[in-house]
Symmetry: C2
Subunit: 499 residues, 2 copies
């Protein structure tokens, strides 16, 4: 007879395999599924999801968890078995604490809210979306109550993405970051702008496809265990560590979008491909959190892909694919162009410096709405005021303002992961530069292997054994601190803009 | 409280949805899955298949079936509810009669046997495959005993593909067909051969892709509920009647392969797309049998795609895509070329006339092996003798002889469906020409809608309500008879070859 932990693992394997299957269905839906199949696909997913949910909340799991906990008593906190029981217990609690009628209400609200959001956005009329957003807030409060929290309801919502993270910790991190960024943005705005005009032009999509595939190969994305396809929005999805796929979108008049989206998604994908093989099909063989996931995509996209060294290495490849555009461009010109900073209205198009201000704005507004300090009807004004204060721009319409993101159709607490990702990436990068003093010249010769190895050792292979903040401390020797991102941005952009 | 039949339907819906999911996984594996994912995909499939199997053999289904049978007592045999109970009961019996250890043995034998077959074929050495084939025979005998039969163990194996079909009925059908075909083949061999040399040359794959997609559109394949992709072997798969996908393969030096494979798969696909919507997600919303399925693919491929009228309509499109090849070709030359008959060694490359002799040969050998009249070691000699007798050719090696098909790695009873498909297609075609006297001129102007409507009404929309032989009688007013295929082939090929 297998012990409880072995039984738990066998059970988990089944649930994880079915979740992988569900991810395959999603991928197909977004890549190749014919339009007429939409309703059937939704029902196939519902059938599968119900099955997965029922398996996940089965009281047998609760019993196995209790018995497993007893079996690992005395093992050190960091041991794999102890971590597995801890993480699995948290998953189980999260799944069982929320009553199924609330889950159903959230799911049906979110699909209805999505439709309303599309309409409101199209008409650029927030008042259409307001009642739906009010309901989102109410449902998220109820969800927070079910999930449980110590200090703030936002903590419960955050915990879905970032185990251990709290609103107060975020406030602390952002308290330093916000003014530093606002100041840097203003300084850059006053300096002469860099030229990035050559990144616009005619770029045949099939050549872009070859180019981006080559680029992600240079980083170390393993296409024997993955592939790249074309979708409306770029994403990364994993059906096991041996099948991690990325997608990108191509604009035939702009090269940067597809290239950097590809590097970004490849960063996510290499994390998934590097998860611990010996823990496969357990709750530990996954990313530590959304923020840590984002740290990997941002590190490869920005610290590597937007570095002087990568630009120098990659320029000849750009010349190869698009000679007319790049024949007369220097590596330095390319480097400056891909790092152009400009306050803008749309988060997903924002540069490395302004991006985090878009996130801080959303975090502050979410908190205010959740606390009831901000009436839903006043959101557009609050949005515009914050944009003006932080970035000096004001959206001409709600579409380019508070209606730009889909996130509030479903829930709160997801945005901070983006900035946590940038903070973590910068702190990891600081350690990496210390540990790998020759990394710059390696990248300049197209060799990213030392970096990938470092990330495998310090991040990927840990899976979800450590909570995100513990992982950061473990990998960098320090608690997460905004100063690393601030000094990284200062150093880089004061140089580029001659400040 | 829902009655038993309603409960049965709800249960069936879940099992069918999960089977659709399994088909999606298969499709992905054969189209886009990266090589490194193979082992994980196998395990994902196993997890899903076990789940489906456990649901299908759940004793609760047996109880619901019994109660449902009582509820439909008194309804006419042909009523939908009565048919649903009958077909579901047959599925359940088939699933529950075979003990799970035999299923496991069959599955593991078949994957091992496949590997051995690949090796034996590569070395063209039947003696490597012989012990495996001996085991296939033994396992299939045991399978037949579990499934049950009245006259012949082959009937049990056949019933998996063709409900109601028996070895003795096949013998009857083939008794007329075989000599007629042998005679026709000999007559054609003595006549001057037609020229098809222009179908070989240089045909860019991307143009072939456009051309085949256009061709299947002309037939009536709905790409809003389907799509075409590239694979090593062409196939059709369905994830619901609103998502029926086909694949084809392209040979840049030969045009006929991809074109006719596409028409063939589109024939399968239009059957699936035309299954009865109001019976969706029940055991009746599927093809009546493999043979009926094949009748649809063969009808569109041969009776339509290889007709004078289709050739006349499609030639300008061929000129459009490949002007150098087709500018100086007449419709009659095209018609003759795509209907070239030539005794050959390989079944999958055989023409309309010789094809069925390949099947009859396999049927006779399967029966002989199952009855123990043919020792496995003597198979190559028996094969070569039959090939010589029927087609006048002798394989130079086992690879081009008895090792050419993968089928005997797993089981017997699958081959007859191919010839049943041709027989059914010819008999349907006879009725269609009677019911639609102007079909020829419609096809000549690219209008296949009347034909598709006829097939929807007489075949597709019936789903599995009728067993295959009942369906043929229902749709054509007569029991299945070889004479229709024989006279179709006589008429067509005596004309082409001037006999």
């Amino acid at each position: 007879m297998a012990n409880a932990l072995q039984q738990l693992k066998a059970y988990q394997k089944k649930v994880i395999r079915l979740s992988e299957v569900s991810a395959i269905l999603d991928w197909d839906q977004l890549t190749y599924m014919p339009a007429g199949a939409a309703a059937d696909r939704a029902d196939q997913q519902t059938t599968l999801q119900m099955l997965i949910h029922n398996l996940a909340v089965d009281p047998e799991v609760g019993r196995l968890l209790e018995a497993s906990a007893a079996e690992v008593v005395g093992q050190p906190e960091g041991s794999e078995d102890a971590a597995l029981v801890r993480v699995s217990k948290r998953d189980y609690d999260r799944s069982t604490r929320v009553p199924s009628n609330l889950i159903e209400e959230l799911v049906s609200h979110s699909s209805m809210a999505y439709e309303v959001w599309v309409k409101a956005r199209k008409q650029s009329d927030f008042s259409i979306f307001a009642p739906v957003l009010r309901k989102t807030v109410e449902l998220n409060k109820r969800l927070a109550d079910c999930l449980g929290y110590e200090e703030h309801p936002y903590d419960a919502l955050l915990s879905q993405h970032e185990p251990g993270m709290t609103a107060s910790k975020l406030r602390q991190l952002f308290a330093e970051l916000r003014p530093a960024l606002v100041k840097l943005v203003a300084e850059i705005a006053a300096a002469p702008q860099v030229d990035s005009s050559f990144l616009r032009g005619d770029f045949a999509v099939d050549r872009q496809q070859e180019l981006t595939l080559e680029a992600v190969g240079i980083l170390g994305y393993d296409t024997n265990r993955g592939r790249q396809d074309k979708t409306v929005h770029p994403f990364c999805t994993s059906f096991s560590r041996n099948d991690v796929r990325i997608t990108t979108r191509y604009d035939e008049h702009m090269l940067g979008g597809a290239l950097y989206a590809s590097l970004h998604e490849a960063g996510h994908a290499m994390y998934e491909q590097g998860l611990p093989g010996h823990l496969e099909l357990t709750a530990l063989c996954r990313a530590a959190s959304s923020g840590v996931h984002e740290s990997q995509s941002r590190l490869w996209e920005n610290m590597v892909g937007r570095s002087r060294q990568f630009c120098a290495y990659f320029l000849p490849r750009l010349v190869h694919y698009f000679p007319e555009t790049f024949n007369n461009i220097s590596a330095e010109e390319l480097y400056r162009a891909v790092n152009r900073v400009e306050p803008s209205l749309i988060r997903v198009e924002a540069d490395e410096v302004t991006y985090n201000l878009h996130i801080i704005l959303r975090f502050e507004l979410e908190i205010a709405m959740l606390e009831g300090r901000l009436d839903i009807d006043d959101l557009p004004d609050a949005w515009d005021a914050a944009m003006h204060e932080m970035l000096g721009v004001i959206p001409p319409s709600d579409t380019e303002g508070c209606l730009q993101d889909v996130h509030w159709s479903s829930g709160f607490g997801g945005f901070p992961a983006y900035t946590l990702g940038n903070l973590i990436a910068a702190q990891l990068w600081n350690s990496i530069r210390h540990d790998l003093p020759n990394l710059g010249s390696a990248i300049e010769s197209g060799n990213c292997a030392p970096l990938l190895t470092w990330l495998r050792d310090h991040v990927h292979s840990l899976g979800a054994r450590l909570d995100p903040m513990d992982l950061v401390q473990h990998s960098t020797g320090e608690v997460l601190d905004s100063k690393y991102l601030i000094s990284y941005l200062h150093e880089k952009y004061r140089d580029i803009y001659g400040l």
